[in-house]
Amino acid sequence: MSGDPQSALVMPDLDPGILERRSDIVAQLRTLVPGEGVIADENEMRAFESDGLTAYRQLPFVVVLPETVEQVAAVLRYCHETGLKVVPRGAGTSLSGGALPLGDGVLLGLGKFSQIIDIDYDNRTATVQPGVTNLAITKAVEGNGFYYAPDPSSQIACTIGGNVAENSGGVHCLKYGLTTNNILGLQVVLINGDIVRIGGKHLDSDGYDLLGLLAGSEGLLGIVTEVTVRILRKPETARAVLIGFPTSEDAGACVAAIIGAGIIAGGMEMMDRLAIHAAEEFVHAGYPLDVEALLIVELDGPEAEVSDLLKRVEKIAKANKASVVRVSTSEAERDTFWAGRKAAFPAVGRISPDYYCMDGTIPRRQLPRVLSVMRELSEKYGLRVANVFHAGDGNLHPLILYDANVPGELEAAENFGADILRLCVEVGGVLTGEHGVGVEKRDLMYEMFSETDLEQQQRVKCAFDDKGLLNPGKVFPTLHRCAELGRMHIHGGKLPFPDIPRF
């Protein structure tokens, strides 16, 4: 996506006290992270001015690329003392602007943390630094028949630190869970420079579940400097089946019927006509072009199980008006089936100058309603939409096609997107399934949460970040000072609850 710089986006006010001390601050940071670790040159900083949500750009105040946890701690301690904001960054593939820099904040890149520290097959864990890419973990263990289950489509590039911060998913999370379900331990540096360990190689951390809280916290609570993940033995076999339908409603009914029959597939993905055609033109996956919706269902496990389930899925598909059913007969063919799906975003990028990727989740049975309203909205805004879903768990990725060079189209795309997300919430779903709130969905948070809900979340942030220095301007639509949030207004004195049963 390209185009119009953040017309509507309001970020926290720049701190003039920080801006005027820039050269001093840069010099201080250089003493903490010597060598090439501090980038202050405008041209060199350009590479960091946006993440995967490229509609928004901002040159960082300064970029710092530490190499050791001690350096991270020293930088954070300095920022805490100085009142300097910090934006963590992994590979910068976030689609919600989570890693969008601040003009008066340090952009803290974790890319140099690229070591795999420990692989323990007996305990089925891998401990890695946060800058290791998602795919590199699987590559490191696949020789022994293992893999790391969550597999975002961006897995070649995105880092495990970014995955933890976004609680990323992938096409296999229906059966194997999201990042939060697949991590066991973290090392985290708090904003005051304190280093903590949470969990380890054992299951379930003791005390409050900080691991669960850090997962999906979008860099607002601490800097992740080490991650211990669960690795799994690769299933004996995996086979995929392509199923084409005359309508999206039929495809949706088929998904419900498969799950209703007690089958939890390894992956269950759906594409609509526009997405099918774009993907087919791009990677020639052999997708049928005369269908309105396509499902890819993958079954994995022992051969005996997979072949039995495949038969049942085929039967269910036919009962749900499938017009095409094709089972992969080789590993190569299975990869081809997936290639189209995994390249769906760039494929859509080829048929439109720009596209805007949404990420709502809905209860699956609401799919027909959501699709039909989406068609109406598409007409209303005069913009096409291609649909790619993680159908098994109701996570939609509508891709809104627009041209940033046409005045008003970006704005229309954003409004269209916001309408879709409001609809998701209205039918019982949520604003974001795996891409995060970031700056993108920040101002829609009131669609889902009350002021009280959001204040409680911000109090949790205060427990980690008393001065609000970690990634401010993301996730929360309005920022409150911690002292203000801590106040309580309760007046007592009345006779307590005459009606409540007491014993």
Binding site: K201, G212, L213, A256, I263, G301, E305, V437, F497
Partner: protein
């Protein structure tokens, strides 16, 4: 003691507001089976939320259920069974460990304690299946956490923090959980007579195989489940596989082949398997002497046997292993130091990493030692601030987890 039994959310809010203004700490209880788990709570008022019960939403093909925290697990499991579904994290009934009759556990208590059974090692813990909640904080404010769909990264995942918070952060008034299809068949491969360390090796081998083991436990010789009659005079290592028939049969025989040179193997089928794993889940081996200190120790699976050996060299204990060795249940036969064995257990666990919880001990012991694993000062600071962010006046179950928390 004053007992209040709210019938709805509004009454919960009213109670907490009163407690805050009168500075009256509250003890929060649902089914009450785990009331003696944790440090003793000093509160003159008990809030019994068991009336906030009932399944308000169950959509089998959406794999989701919403229920009041006081809903009995028996009722939930009955509804699920009718649709061939289950709670995949296999919630345990700890009631009998404390001398209570089985079946009193509620979903609120299970989630508040993050209680999971043997399948935890494959399917995740209670917290992994906890999708959404409505809850009243210690500020007397109703807030919502999560939602009803599995894929949700909208804001902080507060359900995770409520799970395992033992009622110290908020009173849950409604819970939404993920449900899953139950396995049609359950087979268990039993390997006899392995020493603890060899059992851990065998279990690691099984878990590292493609056979999708959903339970891995080792019961040393001499342990008898309190509820059953089968006397075990030989150690038994058990590996469970679940799913559709042909797959289960294939995987069970695959495991037998894999472990054949360890010792003699035997396969037990669905009904016997269910009984066996229920005993492991509920820790039925230690329900006879409810005055004896009992520990639940979570460590890296390969460290389990070393920890048991280290403690055994200094104390009179019985222990068995779940989670492939990663969960050790340990009962002290005697308690000469009067600390429930805390010093010895924690020393052993700290040498490897992990944590130990004193699940059961007399009140005076639990008042004197840390029941949950002591935290380092930085972590303790985060814990205290997190508690404060939900419950600034320390009204809800004060001191149940740690001093002041």
């Amino acid at each position: 003691m004053d007992i209040l039994k709210p019938r709805n959310e509004d009454e919960c809010i009213e109670i907490v507001k009163w407690a805050v203004s009168e500075e009256q700490p509250l003890e929060i209880m649902s089914g009450g089976t785990k009331r003696k788990l944790g440090r003793p709570v000093e509160a003159a008022t008990l809030v019994d939320i068991s009336a906030l019960a009932g399944i308000s939403l169950y959509e089998p093909d959406e794999l989701v259920m919403t229920a009041g925290p006081g809903t009995s697990l028996v009722d939930i499991e009955k509804a699920l069974q009718e649709n061939d579904q289950e709670l995949a994290f296999e919630p345990a009934d700890y009631g009998p460990l404390f001398g209570k009759t089985p079946g009193a556990t509620t979903i609120g208590g299970i989630l508040a304690g993050n209680i999971s059974g043997p399948r935890r090692l494959k399917a995740g813990a209670a917290r992994d299946h906890f999708l959404g909640a409505r809850a009243v904080s210690g500020r007397g404010e109703l807030f919502k956490a999560g939602g009803r769909v599995v894929k949700n990264v909208t804001g902080y995942d507060l359900c995770k923090v409520l799970a395992g918070s033992w009622g110290t952060l908020a009173i849950m008034t409604e819970t939404t959980i993920k449900v899953l299809p139950a396995g049609q068949k359950i087979f268990t491969v039993l390997v006899s007579d392995l020493a603890d360390k060899d059992a851990a090796t065998a279990m690691a081998k099984a878990l590292g195989s493609t056979f999708e083991v959903s339970g891995a436990a080792h019961i040393p010789a001499g342990l008898t489940p309190g509820s059953g009659t089968d006397k075990s005079d030989m150690a038994v290592t058990a590996l469970r596989v679940e799913g559709i028939g042909p797959s289960v049969e294939y995987r069970a025989s695959g495991l037998v082949e894999l472990l054949a040179n360890e010792r003699e193997c035997q396969i037990i089928k669905t009904t016997d398997s269910q009984k066996f794993w229920r005993n492991v889940r509920d820790c039925s081996y230690f329900t006879q002497n409810t005055n004896r200190p009992l520990w639940r120790i979570s460590v890296a699976p390969t460290d389990g046997p070393d920890i048991v050996a280290a403690v055994r060299s200094r104390a009179d204990i019985s222990a068995f292993y779940d989670w492939a060795g990663g969960l050790v249940w340990m009962e002290f036969g005697s308690d000469p130091a009067g600390d429930g064995g805390a010093a010895i257990v924690r020393e052993a666990v700290n040498a490897t990493g992990g944590h130990a919880t004193l699940i059961r001990a007399e009140d005076d012991i639990r008042a004197g030692v840390e029941v949950f694993h002591p935290q380092d000062p930085v972590l303790a600071g985060v814990t205290a601030r997190l508690k404060n962010s939900f419950d600034p006046e320390n009204i809800l179950n004060p001191g149940r987890m740690y001093g002041g928390v």
